[in-house]
Amino acid sequence: MSPLLFGRRTIRALTTTGAPDTSGGRSLWQDARGRFVCNRAAMASLAILCVLVLFVLFGDFLAAWSNEEIDWAMLGNVAEEGGPSFANGHYFGVDELGRDLYARTVQGTGISLMVGVLGALVSMVVGTLYGAVAGYLGGAVDNVMMRIVDVLMAIPYMFVLIVFMVVFGRSILMLFVGIGLISWLDMARIARGQTLSIKNRDFVEAAVAIGVRPGRIILRHIIPNLLGVVVVYATLLVPSMIIYESFISFLGLGVQEPDTSLGALISDGASQMQYGTLWQLLFPLSFFVTTLFAFFFVGDGLRDALDPRDR
């Protein structure tokens, strides 16, 4: 641990308590934060993610064109004149219809990030609750609930998701719901496993002894103790959510025009690359790869920081 870090922590202790903290007690979260900050790849990835979020939120203010506007001057000779250029305001070039690729990348990255984070959030909430209830109640209820998870896990989810999208119409909302509903299964298993080890601890027994009802025990005592593991897994889930969404959009079954996502942009770029408009493939692709890399490293860093086994 670097001396700087130690100093920062001491300063924090001084400012919060107003007196030197001689007991030296550190919470689990403080400990974890220290380890995370030391992980260079994770911190760099976190910085990249922040830049990406800023790009999504404020990128539109820099754009000279909107994502739906067609630059008629470009249409028809996209391959010769549509390349990235600062002179005409198309920083990333234009797509085959003469729309500004920069504005579309801003929007696509935004939708991909949003689907990733919200999908992980849905699966986190549903999976944690389901797993905690199954694990805490135990017995026949647990058995039935986990068998249901087993059955659902054996189904090729991507096909079901596509059927789902076809039947209920293609929209971003359906994508959220569909992806979130299918991806909570692993989360439920993890949460259940953790619950089994937590529910025999003294503090849960104490709560049972003073007559706290099961629902309250699960919400107030079990779930807060699951959070470490769940948050780590949810962070690692975000990139796979982004991959799911891009997979479906790549096939043309996801978001609808004029909305777009990184998968749809990559698909467009791939179908146009024989005409030499490579920027159409390479810009969305590099954004996609960067986003995934950043999330993977942050997730790994969080796991190293929070998982007591790998210390």
């Binding site: 189904i155 991507m158 096909f159 076809v166 891009s246 996609f288």
Partner: protein, 307 residues
């Protein structure tokens, strides 16, 4: 063992039934019927058509008929979009293609992944090891739909070595790019998994004993370390298989190989429900069967497993 197989089958069969029923109900609930055209048909004609396909029956009866025709005759019904073809014709046409490059991809992913992983573990902390780790980290962010365009860009457009699409009856140049695109990310996962479990196995006490006895390294790896190191990899074969089935949709669409994935996406875009359902059920059945085989293999290889 027989009891274990029976219990696994007892879960597998209801799973498949649930898949069939859920997809049928979804299709039933979907807006728009199969005979909706621009020109509204006279109600009598509509009623006759509905009657001919049994669509005037209650939902339960329809599901029952559908399940019975699948189980007894392996008949998934007619396609709405390709009116002269049944779902069976479409599957018969597309499935061999998907199976060909799917099987190759599976082989490549497993064999290359396991060899790379073992090599990395044996040569721990050498260039080969770093290469293996680098490849597996890199391949995490290169799912098949990202890799496929990049491969086509390099090998078809720039180098002009391989065709960027088509099938031509499975002539080998047409198979190479689909196989690489489909297998790489799984190969990387398998390599990573093999490497870590092999490292763990090589640090175990019984390996140290074998070394102390003076056995050559090759023999130690093959006879002693390989089996315990393979167990996690075998349990990963199931997800690999599912991933290949799912990935084949992208491969079929991108490389226009004419496999079932292409039909699937086409039908999804045109709301050709019987085809969507047929392919979904086929994928489900394959997945369930394969998972069963993997579990049995695992139980057979690992004597510590109790049934």
């Amino acid at each position: 063992m027989i009891y274990y197989v029976a219990r696994r089958l007892a879960v597998a069969v209801p799973t498949l039934l649930i898949l069939i029923i859920v997809s049928y109900v979804l299709m039933y609930a979907a807006p728009g019927g199969p005979f909706d055209t621009e020109r509204t048909l006279p109600p009598e004609v509509m009623a006759n058509l509905q009657h001919k396909y049994g669509l005037d029956q209650p939902l339960v009866v329809q599901i029952w008929r559908y399940v019975v025709s699948i189980v007894t005759e392996f008949d998934f019904g007619p396609s709405f979009q390709y009116t002269d073809q049944t779902v069976n014709d479409i599957i018969r046409q597309g499935f061999p293609v998907t199976l060909t490059y799917g099987a190759w991809s599976f082989l490549v992913a497993v064999l290359a992944g396991v060899s790379l992983g073992i090599a990395a573990a044996v040569c721990h902390n050498t260039f080969l090891d770093y290469l293996c780790v680098g490849v597996s980290v890199g391949a995490q962010v290169l799912p098949n739909f990202v890799l496929a365009p990049v491969l086509t860009l390099v090998f078809t457009l720039w180098l002009a070595w391989l065709p960027g699409g088509g099938w031509q009856g499975g002539h080998w140049p047409y198979v190479v790019l689909p196989v690489i695109a489909l297998s790489t990310s799984f190969m990387a996962s398998i390599a990573r998994m093999t490497r870590s479990s092999m490292l763990e196995a090589l640090n175990a006490d019984f390996i140290r004993t074998a070394r102390a006895k003076g056995l050559p390294m090759r023999r130690i790896v093959i006879r002693h370390a390989l089996k315990p190191a393979m167990l996690p990899v075998i349990s990963y074969l199931g997800p690999t298989f599912v991933g290949m089935i799912t990935g084949s949709v992208v491969i079929d669409v991108f490389f226009a190989t004419g496999g079932i994935g292409q039909f699937f996406v086409n039908s999804a875009l045109n709301r050709d429900y019987p085809v969507i359902m047929g392919i979904t059920i086929l994928a489900g059945a394959l997945t369930i069967a394969f998972n069963l085989v993997v579990d049995l293999l695992y139980a057979w290889l690992d004597p510590r497993i109790r049934y």
